[in-house]
Every structure is written in C-alpha cells, then in structure tokens.
Amino acid sequence: MESNLKWKVIFITLVVLLCLFGLVGLPTFPTSLAKARDNFSSRIKLGLDLQGGTHLILQVQVNEAVSLQTDQTIDHLSTQLRDKNIRYDDLRKVSDTQILVHNLAPESTAAFRDLVGSSFPEWDLAPAPGEQSGYALTLKPSTVAAIQAQTMAQSEDTIRRRIDALGLTEPVVAPYGQGDNEIIVELPGEGDPNRAKSVIQAGGQLELRRVEDPNPYPSEAAALAAHGGILPPGTELLPSKTTDAAGQGSWYLVDRSPIITGRDLRNAVATPSTDNPGSYEVNFTLSTDAARRFGPFTEQNVGRPMAIALDRKVVSAPVIQSRIEDSGRITGRFGQQEANDLALVLRAGALPASIRYLEERTVGPSLGADSIRHGVQASIISLMVVLIFMVFYYRLSGVNAVVALLLNLVILLAALAYFGAVLTLPGIAGVILTIGMGVDSNVLIFERIREELRAGKAPASAVDTGFKRAFLTIIDTHVTTVVSAIFLFVFGTGPVRGFAVTLTIGLIANLFTAVYVSRVIFDWHLAKMQRQAALSI
C-alpha cells in the first residue's frame, strides 16, 4: 500500500512536470522568468476574437465548373458528330449537367451510341422524353461529384497560394462546414480585409487569343452587323476591360480557343512601365512547352494584333512585332499595388470557379485586448472566490480541492498547448465552466465523506466509501456533458467548437484531478495522521 502510494505520487508529479514543460518549456528551455512568459504566450494560441484579425467565409460556385464541363462536351460532341457525318437538328444545354440532342437522323442512331459510349464515357445516354428521336446526355452523378470535389480542392489551393503570397502572419485557409463548398480564411492581425478580399476574388484567368478583325467594334451589335448577323465559326466577341470617357467600351472579335492560358505561365512580376512613366505593368515568362507553341504562332502572325484577356475581358491588344519566344507583358496603366496583386494572382493560378462571400468578421486589436482582459479578470475573480470558499468551508480538505482545481487548469492549458488548439472567447467560457464542474466534483465527494463520517465511520473508511459513491455520480454527470460536447464539436462550427474542445479537455482533466489526485492526497494524509485523529473536512 505504502509503495503503491509512492508510485501514484511519482506518476502525478510526472504529469504535472509534463504539463508545465508543455506550457513554458518549449520551444527553448526557459532560463529566466521573462523567457518562460514568452514561451507561454507563444504556446497558447489566441483566436481571432482575442487577438484581432479578419475572418472570411466564402463559397466556391462549384457548379460553374460542372457547367463548363458540359459546354466543353457540347463543343467536342458537335465537332465529332460533324466529322462522323451524323446529322441532327439541334444540340443544346438543358441544365448544368444535361445536353439534349434534338432529332437525330434515325440511320445514325447506332453510330451515335457508339460515339457516346467510346468518347464520352462519363455521360449517361437515354432517349429524351417526349421526343421521336431525341437523346438526353446526363453527366454521371459520380463525375459531377468528382468535378465538384476537384474544383473545391483546386480553389482552396489557389486561394491558399494567393493568401500566402500576401505575406501575412499565420493565415488559415481551410474547408468549412459540411459539404456546402465553403472555405474559411482567417487572417490574424489583419484589420483591413479589402486587399485580401480583392486578391482572393480576382479570377486570374489569363488568355492570349488571336484577334480576327484588326479593329475593335464599338458595340456587340456593330460586330454582328459587320458579319451579316452571324460570327465566323470558332470566334467570339470579348469586351474590353477599360471604357472611354463616355463609358463606351469596345469589342474584339477573337478566336474561341486561346493560344496561351494562365497555366502556361512560369512566372509573372510587376515592374515600372517604360512607356507610361508612373504606371506599372506585369511581365510574364512562359513555360518551355508553351514557348514551343508561342514562337511559331507569333512568327506566322506578325503584324496582326493579339488580345491579352483577363477574366474574359481584353486588357490590351498589341500588334505582334516579331517572333516572341517565351515572354510577354500586360500593360494597362496599373498602379503599383494593382500590378503586384495581378502578378501574384497570375503566379498563384486561376480560380476554377467564382467565389461568393458569405460572411466577414473583423475584430480590431483593441476589442480583442478588451475581451482578454474581461475574460481573464472574470476567470480569476471567480476562481479566487471559489478557492477561498472551499478552504473556508472544508478546511484542510478544502486545500485539497484547491490543489485539484489549480492542477485542472494547468492540465487544461497544457493540453491546449500540446494540441495546438486555439483559445477563443467561448473557450474562456469553457474554462470557467470547467471550474464549475471541478467544484461540483469536489463538493460531491466531500459532502459524501461528511455523510459517512456522521454515520460513524472511521476517517479512512469514510474517505474510501465517499470516493467510491461519489465516483459513480461524477462519471454519470461527466459522460452526459461530454456527450453533449461531442455533438457540439461534430455539428457545431467556429466558436461553438472552441467551447466544446476546452470543455471536453477540462472534464477529462477534472476526472483525473478531482478523483485520482485528490484521493492520493487524502490517502497520503490518512497514512500520516494519527489513527484516532479527526479528518479536517
């Protein structure tokens, strides 16, 4: 029994040392009090609500990518049908995931089925309802899910690269919520989210396209009129990015397929413009692969304009002077920051779908400082009152409760440090509630011991029964609370989760301190005290 107790004491001491080490001993062993304090504040990470910063929730419009896939399939399908001489009346998009082939020539049905089966395996083919010889192609749900998942992953990646390039401290970019294609972006210490937002939102889709008609048109209608109402095959109209003083833009007739896209870029940098002093431009270099395509193309098209389009808007349409191998520049009278951000977005790559903001929260550093002060003040005051009361009411045993409660807090903080969990305002509330539960456990045990003593039991056996009986109750109350905390964690978001984490850790720590540690202290005391002496409780 005696040696058993010794091992328990050693075990508890180890746990305490491990916790203290986790709190102040990392990253470098503290040699002074100031160093220990530094370690502590770097180990306990504060949430945005406490240190200030910006928090954005945005939604990726994944269905745009699905819709794009359908558009591309229509393009491919119509080309192949033409090549194979399969005739039909109309080929059109019914929804993001469905294509309707209207009135297919009956003699080509078998050839059409073969074509879809071999070249478009991700599409389900079925006769269109209510049509004689019409067919509906539906994108398979598994493919839709795959495109959506890929779009999400790609968007998250792109946004992360863009945010990282802004050079902020410890930004967080992570998926958010359950399956609504949402991403959370947290920028600690950033009080003005506008720059981050514009960088995130920029499409960044760069395209170089051949311009068909050398001169731009003042309006879409004018362009159509010039071609007798129908655009030449394989071309489309793109608007210019800038408008003139009257708000009038211009339209360029360009090739439908780009020669170079943002994916072909190897690098992009902003530099001061030589032509327009005071403004900036973005110079880009192409990958080896793209340069192999770009060289011959520019050679063949010397003297013709080429459109540089950003997010389907023509930024400029310079005339090709000579063969260009692997570099180019985007001029557009950019300011310095604008040019920097454009270069950054080009480097990070284009977003596969557009972004919608759902939520934006900015906490100024002064509010965060206030919240910490209030939260910490409230915790310390309530802790002091509770501790004083416990010693006053339970005398020496109360000291036992004080040790258990303080140890509980140390373990809780150390666990937060080890897990890298973030302390938020609701988290502080969770700490305060942990104090409450800790008090409850101690009161339950002590009241029970008192009851047993009143019933005439000797101190040792009263302590033993008291702990055993109270333990059952404590387990029940803790498990029910942990059950609800788990639900909070699994289904909750943001602040609610922080609360659930601290509460759960606190409750587990409390089981250890209020039941195990407290018991060891009692046993140690009982072993030392006179057999007839009364227990101080």
Binding site: E360, D440, L488
Partner: protein, 415 residues
C-alpha cells in the same frame, strides 16, 4: 464549517403542484412574449446583415449619428449604446444594418455605407493627414523612419518599428482603441519631439471602428437550423445514456426537465430582449449539461436509496434523496451561479448574452431537477401503480459498478 442541518426532512413531492404552477407561469410568460414579438431577438449570426462597433474618445453623439445615417439612406439601421458594469463609460455604439439583396456587392455595401455616414457626420479630419486611430503600426513606423525625429540615422528603422508598436499597443490596450489627443502618447513613451513629428502626419479622429461583422443570409439560415439540430442530437444522446444507466423513464424525465429549462431561458431572452447568438447556443448546451448534471445527482441517490430503503414508498425515497443531496445542490449551484454572475457582470459586451443564459440556466436547471424531473418519475410510478419496478434498469447499470453493488435491486415500495 457547515451551513446545513443534516436531518432536513422537507416534503418536496408534496409541493409538486406549486412547482407545476411556477413552471407553467414562467413558460406561459415566455411564450406570450415570444408570440407577441413573433420571433426571438436573433443576433447577427442568425439573421445576417452588417454590424459595426464604433468606439469614441468621448460620449458618442448618438442623435447626430442617427441623423447622419438617415441622410445616407440608412434609415433602417439601428444604433445601440453599450456599457456594462466593468466599463461604465465604454463610449461605444453598435450600428446594425439589415441585409439588403444578395451577392458580394450587397455584402460590402452595408459596411461602406455605414463608414461613409460616420465620416460624413463626424468630420473627416484634417486634409493631408491620416487618422492615428486607424493607422497600423507599419504606417506609424514608416512615417517615423522617414522623418527620423530622434536622429537615429540608418539604425532608426528597427527602433522606430518598436516605438510604433509601443504607441499602437498603448492605443489598443490602455486607450481602448481611441487616443483622444496625440499628447496622450507621452504615457506610452513618446518624447515631445516624436509627438510633434506625429502631429505633422496624423490627426486623432473622434472614433475608431473596433469590430465589423458581415453575415450573409445563407449562413444565418444554415446556422439557425444547425443550432436546433445540435441541441436535439445532444438531448437524444443524453437520453440514450441515461436510459442505459438508469431506465428509460428517468432519461425521459431528465430530458423533459432540460427541455423545460431551455424553453424558460429562451422565454426570458425574449422577455428581456437579449439576443440569441452563436455563443448563446453554446451557453444553452452548457445549461443542458448543468441541468442534466443536477438531475443525475438526485437520480443517482434515488437509485442507491431504493436498495437501502426497502419497503418505503417511492415518494418517501425521492424526498429523502433530494434532502440528502440538498447541501451539495446548494453549494455547487451557489458556487457556479456565482462564477457565471461574475462573468455576466464583468465579462464585457461580447459575453453578455452568453453569461445571461448561464445565470438563468443554473437557477432554472437546479430547480427543475427537484421541481420537474423528480416529480415526473414519481408521477409515472404512481400511474404504473403498486408493484411497478421503478429502477429495474439499474440492475444493468449496477453491473458496471465495482464491488459494492451486489445483488438485485429491490422492487418499488408499496404505498
């Protein structure tokens, strides 16, 4: 030290009708207020919109501000002044603007409109100078390095960065975000030379925006649904656990009592115009945990006493159990109540609604364990009639115990 007499013999179950009356009154008052208003006061988390916290150097000119907002076409905005016991002169207002329209533009427009109105109403400062209260440490360091008031030369950059950090920290922590006069920076270690340099580049605006929250309509609706489901799941989880440990009727009684607590708390929220925010949901779930805790302590004692007090009526056993655990109930509830009361009084604006839910929750939760949960089990027992087995489930519960709980539990006592 001991506050309580040990042979309390209060007939709790005899007072059931008073408890029922009290609970019904509280529920009805809450429901009446809820129905009268048509909805609870949802915070921005749930209803969406734009919320801007503005802190002033002196008493906020609320009337002027309201006029300014109306002039900007923000007639539907709401201005609320904030203060609490810990900071009676917070000089802080919250401006709320409901969500208008959809899309990214609508989300930003509200914030921009409010900031415009603030600047238009309260003066946009001195031409060519920046507002010190909105300047980042980098800006301040930049200007100091450029002007070099301390003639530090090439080594100045690092020194000015540290000084700038010191000054903005003073502004954010001691001055709570707004410095009324640049001279105040003397307390933060700025020498007169530095201050006069700063004065060339900065003015002190009368206010600072300390917090902006913009929530789109989708998030709000999602969260509201989510909150209800989380609560229901958590209750179901607890019901299952208690049903396993005790018996189904105990679980049902405990869950009903907790439901009663949540409804009364929500009723009081409605009555006293407290806002339901995301953190309040966390508080409500904590309340559920606490109330459950109290109920389980009593049920546990009933389970134990059923074994010890064979032949006694179930009602007597329940009364005895409540009386035995009374000192613990009062101590724990008293101490936790005190804890959350401190939080309510001192926790600041952000924790206000949260701690209010807990203050109410602990009172109601403690009451409901003897006023609602225990009477429900007794009522069920009476309805089942003599010979019922109130805690047959406890035999399975007792299997998990170690040592002391041998044998089967006694059947219910006859009345």
């Amino acid at each position: 030290m001991d506050f309580f007499s040990h042979d309390v013999n209060f007939d709790w179950m005899g007072k059931t009708k008073y408890f029922v009356a009290l609970s019904l009154t509280l529920l009805l008052v809450g429901a009446a207020s809820w129905i009268h208003k048509g909805s609870l006061d949802y915070g921005i988390d749930f209803k969406g919109g734009t919320l801007v916290y503005v802190r002033f150097a002196s008493t906020p000119p609320v009337d002027k501000l309201r006029q300014g907002l109306v002039q900007q076409g923000l007639g539907d905005s709401v201005i609320q002044q904030i203060s609490d016991i810990a900071t009676p002169n917070a000089n802080e207002v919250v401006i709320y603007l409901p969500q208008r329209g959809q899309g990214n533009e609508a989300l930003d427009a509200g914030k921009a409109a409010i900031l415009n109105a603030l600047h238009a109403t309260l003066g946009s400062g001195e031409a060519g100078k920046q507002d010190f209260n909105e300047a980042s440490p980098e800006t301040v360091a930049d200007i100091l390095t450029r002007k070099d008031p301390l003639s530090a030369g090439a080594a100045g950059a690092a020194r000015y960065q540290q000084l700038a950090k010191q000054l903005t920290d003073y502004r954010d922590k001691q001055a709570r975000g707004v410095v009324a006069n640049l001279d105040d920076l003397r307390q933060a270690g700025a020498t007169p030379v530095v201050i006069s340099t700063l004065r060339d580049a900065f003015y002190t605006g009368p206010f600072a925006v300390v917090n902006v929250e913009i929530v789109g309509p989708k998030v709000g609706a999602d969260l509201r649904r989510q909150a209800v489901f989380v609560t229901l799941y958590a209750l179901a989880g607890m019901l299952v656990y208690i049903a396993l440990r005790f018996e189904l009727v105990y679980g049902a009684a405990a869950v009903l009592a907790v439901f009663h607590d949540v409804l009364i708390t929500l009723g009081l929220f409605s009555l006293l115009h407290f806002e339901i925010s995301l953190t309040v949901i966390a508080a409500l779930l904590t309340l559920v945990g606490y109330s459950m805790n109290d109920t389980i302590v009593i049920f546990d004692r009933i389970r134990e006493n059923l074994r010890l007090m064979r032949g006694q009526s179930f009602k007597t056993i329940v009364n005895r159990s409540i009386n035995q655990t009374l000192s613990r109930t009062i101590l724990t509830s008293g101490l936790t109540f005190m804890t959350v009361l401190v939080l309510f009084l001192m926790g600041g604006q952000v924790l206000r609604s949260f701690s209010f839910a807990l203050v109410v929750g602990i009172l109601v939760g403690t009451y409901s364990s003897f006023g609602i949960a225990a009477p429900l089990v007794v009522a069920w027992n009476q309805w089942r009639g003599p010979g019922a087995v109130p805690v047959s489930g406890a035999t399975s519960g007792s299997k998990t115990r170690t040592g002391e709980a041998q044998g089967r539990l006694a059947p219910a006592g006859r009345r």
